[in-house]
């Protein structure tokens, strides 16, 4: 620097060549190579997804028909058959889990945002929710086994529902918290100014306003729960039969209908994936296709609601 300052005007001229980006210089070359590698890694990481989707469509659609969606699982080597009971079972178990986790998650979220935001309870709840987020799904199954199956003495849909509810709870709770936080303060103040009690503020202003965003969380949690296998393996177990003996067979009509092993798509895929029989493997792929479609539909509904609530 000093040299250029004291030198003749000709020397102060900047060497434009040195400012050009050239691949011959190691720094630029390094940057260029790293950029290529990163782009390549990104594209490579997308391959599995396309491979999964391709295989699901190609192998899954082979056995897909209306009767696959309506019939019972076939015996080994037997032609035909389907997994109607597993589709119904998945919805029943997830519905039980939703009924358990959504009220619980939203009420707890209301407490930690509205009634006691700075309290110790609130930070304990947040911490508990984060711990539950990282809970391995199979441990939710072990918990439901220890609490529900060991107590009732039966593998059942409610046991599976409890396991899934434990996994849904943190998602519902944390998204509901975010949803409530995003309700503008002036709406609260307006309601309080009208003489509303805190409860009325929550039920008449905050919950209706935050509902779409809360529903996003519920939908994402449902999507996750529908695909879970590990918690159902030894809680809902599996069944080759319909839930009810009397028509319509897919509707549980008595408590007894619920308190018995229940089929689910995820467990069906797991059981049939290890099967040596071609027809059961084909059904596993078809069930996987149906399961992914169900999961993605709930995901898309959730994302659409999220997009709408942020507008």
């Amino acid at each position: 620097m000093a040299a250029t300052r004291t030198g003749s005007p000709a020397n102060t001229e900047i060497d434009l060549e040195s400012l050009q980006r050239s691949l011959r210089r190691p720094r630029t070359l390094f940057s260029y190579v790293m950029s290529l590698l990163t782009g390549g890694a990104t594209i490579a990481a997308l391959f599995p997804l396309f491979s999964v989707l391709y295989m699901l469509v190609v192998r899954g659609s082979a056995a897909l028909s209306l009767s696959t969606l309506r019939e019972l699982p076939p015996a080994a080597m037997a032609a035909g058959g389907g997994f109607g009971n597993a589709i119904v079972g998945t919805f029943v178990v997830v519905a039980i889990a939703t009924l358990l986790s959504v009220p619980c998650g939203i009420l707890a979220a209301i407490y930690i945002t509205e009634f006691g935001p700075e309290t110790r309870t609130a930070s304990a709840v947040r911490f508990a929710a984060k711990v539950l987020t990282g809970l391995p799904s199979i441990l939710a199954g072990v918990f439901a086994f220890a609490v529900v199956v060991a107590m009732t003495g039966k593998f059942s849909a409610p046991a599976g529902g409890v396991a899934l509810a434990l996994l849904m709870l943190p998602t519902v709770l944390l998204t509901a918290e975010e949803a409530i936080k995003r309700v503008p303060m002036k709406m609260r103040e307006a309601a309080i100014g009208m003489g509303a009690t805190p409860t009325q503020v929550v039920t008449k202003v905050i919950v209706p306003t935050g509902a779409p965003a809360m529903l996003t969380g519920v939908m994402l949690a449902v999507a996750r729960a529908a695909g879970e296998t590990a918690p159902l393996l030894f809680t809902a177990l599996f069944s080759n039969f319909w839930i009810s003996r009397t028509a319509p067979q897919f509707l549980p009509k008595t408590m007894n209908d619920l308190m018995k092993p229940t089929a689910s798509l995820a467990v069906l895929i797991y059981n049939f994936s290890g099967s040596p029989f071609e027809n059961q493997i084909a059904l596993a792929w078809t069930a996987a296709l149906v399961l992914v479609v169900i999961v993605l539909v709930f995901n898309v509904i959730g994302q659409t609601l999220a997009g709408r609530s942020s507008d």
Partner: protein, 363 residues
């Protein structure tokens, strides 16, 4: 309130009062009123309810630990710490040890995490550092298409599509990945694995033959499953790097990668590290992919191609058909898994909180 009082109230606010206000103001006065006794009571009950539910959520965690721990106590008494170092799982002789499962859990998780981190970080950097826009800009410049304005929104759109695609990866159920692993990954990696074994078999990690399920296919699928976690959290950490650091780095003439590796990644390092720890927690607890792909064999081996077992896969494979004694042992396994994942997740959460606090000073 009587109409007269309402009229007086109006006069206070509008001394010059126009007659048109007369319909509006009394209505407003009627809407705002003190809560009735019933409403106050309902309010108190509702608040207590939410408090009770909030505490229930906290207690749930303790209940979880308690219910698993209580059922594990008999087998903890019987097998003691030798359970952790035993290598056999024989339910007929009631002889239980989980060392192979612990080793397999750590081995597969670390391997899966390493692969997942490389690709996850690449995606995070790719999506956060504007590679697409600069790449497309130069491509458009070369093709002389830069005057079309709709093309300039293309990078953002592609970035969005990529983000959604990575989210899709996270949405696919793990049992579907397991199915895909059995019928796609294992046949795909078998020829290269056989080649490596026959040519480089003297290296311990290629020491055995890939007979089907094994550690490598399981770890590869695991990598795909932790990738969305890592890329999403690292991307957030990279986006949160203050713009002035960015501008300063480029201002002193750093190339893009000197800036990324010298400034952005170190600044976001705590966040990225937290992401890796949380991904590790997820890999440790992942069940289905490993139950379907790892081979369920109580073997301790360095080889990537050897069948293995993990704690979660052990639970999944043995629980459905276990008798009373084996269930006790499996509860012990669950407790060990719970302890490991709890510790890892709490560390990850604390690191992410610190990352958030650390960046506050820079903003």
């Amino acid at each position: 309130m009587t109409p007269g009082e309402a009229g007086a109230a109006r006069d206070i606010f509008h001394p010059g009062g126009r007659s048109g206000d007369q319909e509006v103001v009394p209505a407003a006065v009627d809407i705002s009123q003190p809560p009735s006794a019933f409403e106050t009571a309902a309010d108190r009950i509702f608040r207590r309810c939410t408090l009770a539910v909030a505490w229930f959520t906290v207690l749930l965690v303790f209940w979880l630990v308690f219910s698993i721990g209580r059922q594990a106590i008999p087998s903890i008494r019987t097998y003691g710490l030798g359970f952790l170092s035993g290598t056999e799982w024989d339910s007929n002789r009631a002889h239980f040890g989980i060392l192979p499962a612990i080793v397999g859990t750590l081995y597969s998780s670390i391997l899966g995490l390493a692969i997942g981190t490389v690709f996850g970080l690449a995606i995070a950097i790719f999506l956060s550092e504007g590679f697409l826009s600069s790449g497309l800009d130069s491509a458009l410049g070369a093709l002389r298409l830069s005057q079309y304005s709709w093309l300039s929104s293309l990078p953002n759109r592609i970035e969005n599509v990529l983000k959604i695609t990575v989210e899709l990866l996270a949405a696919i159920p793990s049992v579907v990945y397991g199915l895909w692993g059995i019928f796609v990954v294992i046949p795909f990696i078998r020829p290269p694995a056989d080649w490596l074994h026959s040519h480089l078999g003297w290296i311990p990690i290629f020491g055995t033959n890939l007979s089907g399920p094994g550690l490598l296919p399981a770890s590869l699928v695991l990598a795909i499953m932790v990738l969305p976690t890592i890329s999403a959290i690292s991307r957030d950490a990279l986006v949160a790097v203050p713009p002035k650091l960015r501008e300063a780095a480029f201002g002193i003439g750093a190339t893009r990668w000197e800036a990324i590796l010298g400034i952005f990644v170190p600044t976001a390092a705590t966040g990225i590290f937290g992401a890796i720890i949380l991904g590790f927690g997820r890999a440790l607890g992942e069940t289905m992919a490993l139950a379907m792909l790892a081979g369920n064999a109580n073997v301790i081996s360095w080889s990537l191609f050897s069948p293995a077992n993990t704690l979660a896969a052990l639970l999944a494979n043995h629980f459905p058909e276990a008798d009373r004694i084996e269930i006790g042992a499996l509860m012990y396994v669950a407790l060990v898994l719970l302890a490991i994942t709890l510790v890892v997740n709490v560390i990850g959460t604390l690191i992410l909180q610190r990352a958030d606090a650390g960046l506050k000073g820079l903003r």
